[in-house]
Symmetry: D2
Subunit: 300 residues, 4 copies
Amino acid sequence: MTHIHKIDGLVAAPFTPMHPDGSLNLDLIPAYAQFLEQNEVKGAFVGGSTGEGVSLSFTEKTELLRAWGQVEAPSLQKIMLVGGTSLAESCELAKLAAENHYDAVAVLAPFYFKPTSATVLADFCIAVGEAAPEVGVYFYHIPALTGVSVSMLAFLEAIDGRLPNFRGIKYTHNDLMEYRQCLLFADRKYDLLWGWDEIFLAAMAMGARGAVGSTFNYAAPVYHELMRAFDAGDLDRARAMQDQSIAIVRLLGKYGGIATGKAYMRAVGLDCGAFRSPVQNMSAERYTEFLEDLERIQFN
Amino acid sequence: MTHIHKIDGLVAAPFTPMHPDGSLNLDLIPAYAQFLEQNEVKGAFVGGSTGEGVSLSFTEKTELLRAWGQVEAPSLQKIMLVGGTSLAESCELAKLAAENHYDAVAVLAPFYFKPTSATVLADFCIAVGEAAPEVGVYFYHIPALTGVSVSMLAFLEAIDGRLPNFRGIKYTHNDLMEYRQCLLFADRKYDLLWGWDEIFLAAMAMGARGAVGSTFNYAAPVYHELMRAFDAGDLDRARAMQDQSIAIVRLLGKYGGIATGKAYMRAVGLDCGAFRSPVQNMSAERYTEFLEDLERIQFN
Amino acid sequence: MTHIHKIDGLVAAPFTPMHPDGSLNLDLIPAYAQFLEQNEVKGAFVGGSTGEGVSLSFTEKTELLRAWGQVEAPSLQKIMLVGGTSLAESCELAKLAAENHYDAVAVLAPFYFKPTSATVLADFCIAVGEAAPEVGVYFYHIPALTGVSVSMLAFLEAIDGRLPNFRGIKYTHNDLMEYRQCLLFADRKYDLLWGWDEIFLAAMAMGARGAVGSTFNYAAPVYHELMRAFDAGDLDRARAMQDQSIAIVRLLGKYGGIATGKAYMRAVGLDCGAFRSPVQNMSAERYTEFLEDLERIQFN
Amino acid sequence: MTHIHKIDGLVAAPFTPMHPDGSLNLDLIPAYAQFLEQNEVKGAFVGGSTGEGVSLSFTEKTELLRAWGQVEAPSLQKIMLVGGTSLAESCELAKLAAENHYDAVAVLAPFYFKPTSATVLADFCIAVGEAAPEVGVYFYHIPALTGVSVSMLAFLEAIDGRLPNFRGIKYTHNDLMEYRQCLLFADRKYDLLWGWDEIFLAAMAMGARGAVGSTFNYAAPVYHELMRAFDAGDLDRARAMQDQSIAIVRLLGKYGGIATGKAYMRAVGLDCGAFRSPVQNMSAERYTEFLEDLERIQFN
């Protein structure tokens, strides 16, 4: 077995830029990538939940994939979410990601017909991974959205040794006991990327080193400072940073959820447009109120 | 307002025929349509849950749509499930359904990002329906698979008067109080197709006249007899037919779920191949056991 | 095996009368029983959900049990809900019910530590039933409140033949396929009392003859007319009665839930006081609005 | 406002000792208390989930309360779980706890009729607390068992300033963002006792200082070492202790859940008998296997 690459640091899950008419605004992507690099982000997780992959047409997904693939961004690991409910499309996207020199792809649990066991889920991921052996494969665990609650420890047992390019899990769930066990699985073999920004400090205490998140798009410095403080043993400082992260995340809740992220992007100068239906966007009046809240929490 | 067409009778949700290698076997569709017509089925609900719409690629969906569109089957209402998580693809499929002379399309609640209110859901359906004003539009309510539990009464209130080609709901849920209220909504304006075959008798008592189901593919005569007996006031006979339906459905459970339906199809002489991953198919040994069970329940 | 008594008709689940200070108003019970008998109700299900059994102290439960036990009401089957989370108290109440000449007791699935299988649940019920072999035993299935979703068919298999005084299930759930299978179990051996008033017509179509409900306290005539019409083959009339029942139940929802039932009782002249915390009661202003709604739906 | 006492350290939730016939074995309690004190445990949370409070009769609860109340154990905070579904009994137990010199009582969310808002829940807790103003009051948040998912932040807002003897929350849930916010609420006013032993390290990183747990009964030294290492900045050591805790907790899962805790107690020399129905106990053969597993994980 070759050593598995593990990401130490922050992977942002970019928003997909849209024009006012709702079509893709791919021209923004080079500036987006540069912005992430300037913020010392280590990777881009393209077409994920934050990136509205499920709301794009297949054709749009391939365009988005190519646009990020062509960006010159040497410090970014590029990961494409290729998973969905159709294995056929997932495989096709995985091949395309390989052709476009992505470092890895990510696979969701199919979320209409749901896998009934860890083995069924592993088989699905393996089929995708075998379609593109040149790229790494992450499983993207997000039961709150997929409704699939397969044990990740059982999943690792089911996939271990069967897919050479399997890298690990993007773990967007709050079971830190399971997370810890996955981290230790097979002598720490796999990469376990943490996916709940608002409790990253808790995950670091349990051993997390890498993370994928949406707030890393616009608040990476907060998390970098959190990591530095934690590594330096300065818990008070780390907690203060986590508290700032929580303040940021609370505004997501206050303003209606995931679409608020694009309001943050607009506030930091990268206007990515609106989310597509069925996600709701905030009104212009609410945006003004939102900006006031940003001042209140000293977001800048 | 023009009068809304209401279906009185059974609509089958066809299985999508596959070759042994997993590719579409569209050549079987003419025989499939003929089989349904011979069984006095009134419609085909194409690409639904039973038809594995979510497991097909977008291109395959368009091929499936065209294949059913071209079939000469004058007694069948043709309904295409165009819904999914991408509004863009749903609209494109709806247009294609109109071009291919479908009677109606059906829209699912988006099931990754979930509509947070009846209005959001109605807006999504309206956007699809406006893309193809020539065809009727059904909302396909199946919260057990979509995880979307919006009140259907609130949904009808939210969509009523806003989409001229809206026809009603394919109601695959077990809340018969809500079903009854939807049926009576706006002076019985909308078509409420019942979607739980195993308790169709209960729904008829509450006023159901039309139904969409998977077991109508291979057991339509049982339900026709149920309906005749019910209409004739012969409850004992109607219950006996419902009991036969329950016996059929219990075998679905015993043999692992939805894929068992294709085993039934094979048993009645229309081999539609296997279900795609992540749905599990029964082994050859289990199929032998299944055939014995069919004899035991006197399925023929 | 002796023949199991099956109830044909309506069993009301009485509200527990309270004084304005929240203490038990047991003096109202004789009038309450007379009211039920005048309405041709066939039984009283004492201390159930409607009767706030869980909100009473153990001592109060024994007082309530005795008060109903002493009532002269020859046409009423008396059933006491003895179940809860403590097997010891359930057994003690069951013995007391026997001493007080109840016809039967009912057992809930323990709802804090939840039975992990049908066998565990059956064992719990059997332990209660063996404590009072003179009275019949019903299992009260209400997963929406207990959170226990054990298959009732598996439960019948687990208890069948092990408890001579076991009578059947008060089935407050909406799985009519399972209900039908339980009804047919062991050659229709057990009594399956239906527990969702608002779709009783659907259950009758599936074979229900007896029912336990809260709206039978104040609206029994509606259901009697429903049953007569159904038995006479007059579905239109039966549906009209079910629609009236639904109108009644919708007001429960509109005015905040179960406590609204006591507002109905007050409206029919039997003031049972308020529900205890944590159930919320309507304000005086809301009660006025409620009375207007009663007129609107022609409740009398 | 008087300063609220906050517990720094471990509170064990004792098992309730039973004789082989299932009756209470209260004679064991003095030795039990001594064992906890020897292990430097700071408190006893009596009659909680671990203590099977819900499975006891009311009379037994009062006996258990008195037995722990009479124990001479100066280093132990005594907390009695008085909550349940009956407010009347909760108040009665709270008074009895005050008479027996407990430091505090704890209230569960009523778990049959469930509070529909934070205010309703706060009202319930306040009613209990006002019955015994001499003792502190904790709310015991354990949504996995009660099914009540009221926001704890909203709950603190609803109760703050209304119950002078309110102390805080025993937080047995895995939402560390909410936990952190509760900890900071009103300038760190309340005591937030952590209740998931297996991820205590994560909670410490988020600021936890006190905890209530079942594994502290038999494995307190592991957690003391965890706390010492964490406070000394030795994360590797702290994680090793958490891993040992996880190994212990995994055996709970392997051997069927909560009843396994009494097997641990037997292994450390305090035989507390078996759990009551509906909780399942392990067989003698399984106990032998369990002891082998204890050796494997080096539990001693």
